[in-house]
């Protein structure tokens, strides 16, 4: 008889090392604990921290492969400048000289075009300190234009009164059902998905809906494909049906909501016309979903980041309360990428004489290629850009065709990417392994990430950049977080940051530095029962999607989402993960490939109204017939795919006859 025992997990390393550093992986927002082993100031091994309550010693590919980026020979190590965008860069001896030049050029641009001509792009790669520093510097400068892919800290986080009791992913073990909406957790946060699998093994049923048959859907007990970005509308319809089928009692609603009758009426009156067109599901397809959800006492709703950028996002919190799920362990709403508190990092500046008049916030987050963002970016007239990561090829790509109109493009980064190619000035940035920093996680916890190794002399942290730049404009008092040796004091800075929000103010960095146990916020747990809330009401009608001329000409919907081995362009400098999946893959449905005569692996073109992208065909049923998917972002939402020797019109004619 064959018996087996699982391999025992082991801790420690077999590699020779001088010291071990306990820290937090900052490649995503799960916040896995890791131990880095260092020999002669080089990282020789990475192991998961077995004592960490979220990651339990597990790490994903990104959490190990990042070390290849730290020591990559192409790292930018010197500040550099040039006059035009064509010539070679000239190295600047040191940061101080470089910053003098930057300050002078920024000042000139401000004199000529006003303060709002400065636009700052904050890629997560540059760190939380860069983003928070940028918000502060921009406030003093007088520009509202600071953009981060996760939006302002307040954009993704539900209002404080809607925050459910703290329920980390480990509490999913108590869930009877986990419902994932447009959240491909298995791909974007694989270590957190381990808890979904564990819960499933303990009897929880997993239900996933998304626009593609993702890995998460493949592991679910019930998987449904919907139209992209229609998740919140599906939430409204589910809520209506849960009420109509009698699964949501009036009594429970009365205890939790202000004006419960008006709320119930709004759902009773909600029209289901146009819903099928918008979600891609008929009412009779949704009914089994309702029955799947109803009857669970503890149900966790996991929603993807992009849903936060669409109307009615609060329906998930409303549903979790109306159904009573939020009252039980293993139940409630878990919005991804929403673990940042609503930090106010400029409140103290508002009171400073009238020296810094308030600027109008656009309130718009650069969620990739929503028509809103592309339109807003087209209307803006930036003359000076401060870029991080590869943002000109990402959320700042609407500015890419206009780089020649800019007076100054500054790149603060670590690698020679496209953004650097389009810059006038370059400043070398430390990567997260080279700086101390605070991490907010999906679980709504606060952790401290210790620096593993020192960066090379010329690389600085984001806070270091802003402190020095502010100095040149006489704003030292607003950036006081400096050590005696002139370097940025991240401990003092983040202590100040934590104090800026009542829900985190009880927490000190020193306390976090001593432990590998994350601290959850709100730090002070309020024992009283949650107050009644104003729930999200249903809209009377759902407006039909009116087919635009663009949609007629480009019959396929394009979607780009993250792949498991890639967080951002930085992966280009990690050979271990780069080889795992083709970055130029373009997923098309087998039936579409067949009618167009496209073979698997063939070089093809994806064309939209303005842009065309080359790619390699990956024929797969992961995409529905009407969708084209790629890990690479691309400024088009409606496209047609075609062979290289075929025009987009020829492909369109074939598809028109084929698609309904």
């Amino acid at each position: 008889m064959l018996t087996h025992e699982p391999l025992r997990r082991f801790s420690g390393t077999r590699k020779d090392h001088d010291r071990a550093v306990r820290t937090v992986c900052q490649e995503c927002t799960v916040g896995c604990g890791l131990l880095a082993y260092v020999k002669d100031e080089r990282i020789v091994d990475i192991q998961g921290d077995e004592a960490h309550p979220v990651s339990r010693g597990r790490l994903c590919a990104k959490g190990m492969a990042f070390i290849q980026g730290v020591t990559h020979p192409d790292r930018i190590t010197l500040p550099a400048t040039r006059n035009g965008l064509q010539g070679p860069f000239e190295a600047v001896d040191n940061w101080e000289k470089g910053l003098d030049l930057l300050a002078e050029r920024l000042r000139k641009t401000k004199d000529r075009h006003g303060p709002e001509s400065l636009v700052v792009g904050c890629d997560p790669e540059a760190g939380l300190d860069f983003f928070l520093g940028a918000l502060r510097f921009a406030r003093l400068w007088g520009t509202p234009h600071v953009y981060h892919p996760l939006g302002e800290p307040k954009d993704l986080m539900p209002p404080v009164d809607l925050i459910d009791p703290w329920a980390p992913c480990s509490s999913w073990l108590e869930s009877q059902c986990i419902f994932l909406v447009e959240a491909d957790l298995a791909t974007t946060h694989p270590v957190a998905f381990g808890w979904v699998l564990d819960a499933q093994q303990r009897g929880a049923r997993v239900f996933a809906v998304d626009a593609r048959f993702t890995t998460t859907l493949s592991k679910a007990d019930m998987a449904v494909v919907i139209r992209p970005e229609s998740g919140n509308l599906l939430g409204l319809v589910l809520m209506k049906m849960l009420i109509e089928e009698g699964f949501c009692t009036q009594e429970s609603v009365k205890n939790r909501f202000l004006e419960p009758d008006a709320w119930l009426t709004s759902f009773n009156e909600m029209s289901l016309d146009n819903v099928e067109q918008k979600i891609g599901l008929a009412a009779e397809d949704i009914l089994p979903m309702v029955r799947f959800l109803a009857g669970n006492k503890s149900l966790t709703l996991v929603t993807g980041k992009r849903l936060a950028f669409f109307p009615f996002h609060g329906i998930w919190s409303t549903m979790a309360r109306a159904m009573g799920w939020a009252d039980n362990t293993g139940g409630g709403w878990y919005p991804l990428e929403s673990g940042w508190p609503r930090l106010n990092t400029t409140g103290d500046i508002a009171g400073a004489d009238d020296k810094f008049p308030a600027v109008k916030k656009t309130g718009l987050a650069p969620y990739q290629f929503t028509t809103d963002w592309v339109a807003a970016a087209r209307e803006m007239e930036p003359k000076a850009l401060i870029c991080t990561g590869n943002c000109l090829n990402d959320f700042f790509s609407p500015f890419q065709p206009r780089v020649n109109e800019m007076d100054l493009i500054t790149y603060f980064g670590s690698y020679p990417n496209l953004t650097r190619k389009l810059a006038h000035m370059v400043f070398p940035a430390a990567v997260w392994a080279e700086r101390d920093g605070l991490c907010f996680t999906n679980d709504r916890t606060i952790q401290w990430g210790n620096r593993i190794v020192w960066p090379s002399d010329a690389c600085r942290s984001g806070l270091g950049l802003w402190i020095r730049l502010a100095q040149r404009f006489g704003w030292e008092e607003y950036f006081p977080w400096k050590k005696e040796n002139g370097l940025a004091d991240h401990t003092a800075f983040y202590n100040w940051v934590l104090d800026q929000f009542p829900e985190t103010s009880g927490c000190r960095v020193e306390q976090l530095q001593e432990t590998s146990q994350p601290v959850c916020w709100p730090v002070q747990n309020k024992a009283q029962p949650p107050p009644k809330i104003t729930p999200i009401h249903a809209p009377p009608d759902t407006e039909p999607t009116i087919g635009s001329e663009e949609e007629d000409r480009f019959p396929l919907r394009f979607q780009a989402t993250r792949i498991i081995s890639r967080t951002s362009d930085v992966v280009y400098w990690w050979p271990w993960t780069r080889e795992l999946m083709a970055e130029n893959a373009v997923q098309i449905h087998p039936e579409i490939a067949q009618v167009l005569g496209i073979e698997n692996g063939e070089d093809i073109l994806v064309s939209g109204a303005v842009q065309t992208m080359e790619g390699s065909a990956w024929i797969s049923r992961m995409v529905p017939r009407w969708m084209v998917w790629s890990p690479r972002k691309f400024g088009e939402r409606r496209v047609v795919v075609h062979k290289k020797r075929q025009t987009s019109q020829e492909a369109f004619d074939i598809l028109k006859a084929f698609l309904p």
């Binding site: 994903c60 298995a186 791909t187 270590v191 498991i564 050979p575 797969s620 049923r621």
Partner: protein
């Protein structure tokens, strides 16, 4: 080795079992293997492959499989090896002796799972396990680095 120990080893043969029902194709095992053994990009000692989605009635099915040396009970590579480099130890471990290997790749052809891979920098062909310095050390068997670290 005492007779008793040998008998004990034979009763406790090591094979590698991967629970594919939990595999999400995250490639952590591939990268962990490379980190542990200082391997370059290129050869994939562990290779995660995606199977599907395939249609199953109205549903779709998709699975992932981590392909690596399974330390088969009757290893085809050991039977095929012309020089005797590929061997199977009493405790079940399949390995290649780099002193005997001539790099003919017969083992790679023989493997029914396609798990043999080579490191281009080296002239001779180590199988997935021969590339693993820990295997042949008398000091004891190390667990495969990848398995306990995957999410």
């Amino acid at each position: 080795m005492s007779q008793e120990q040998q008998k004990k080893d034979e009763n406790r043969k090591n094979v590698l079992l991967v629970d594919s029902s939990r595999c999400i194709g995250c490639f952590s095992c591939e990268v962990a293997c490379k980190l542990e053994h200082d391997l370059p990009a290129g050869p994939r000692m562990f290779k995660v492959i995606q199977i599907g989605p395939v249609e199953n009635g109205d549903d779709l099915l998709m699975n992932f499989m981590a392909v690596t040396c399974l330390h088969c009970d009757r290893p085809a590579c050991v039977l095929a090896c012309p020089t005797g480099a590929m061997q199977k130890r009493a405790d079940g471990i399949v390995f290649s002796d780099p002193e005997l290997c001539i790099g003919c790749r017969t083992c790679a052809v023989a493997c029914p799972f396609g798990s043999h891979s080579s490191i281009p920098q080296q002239a001779r062909l180590p199988n997935a396990m021969a590339a693993w310095p820990g295997w042949n050390k008398a000091s004891g068997l190390r667990a495969p680095s990848s398995a306990p670290r995957a999410p």
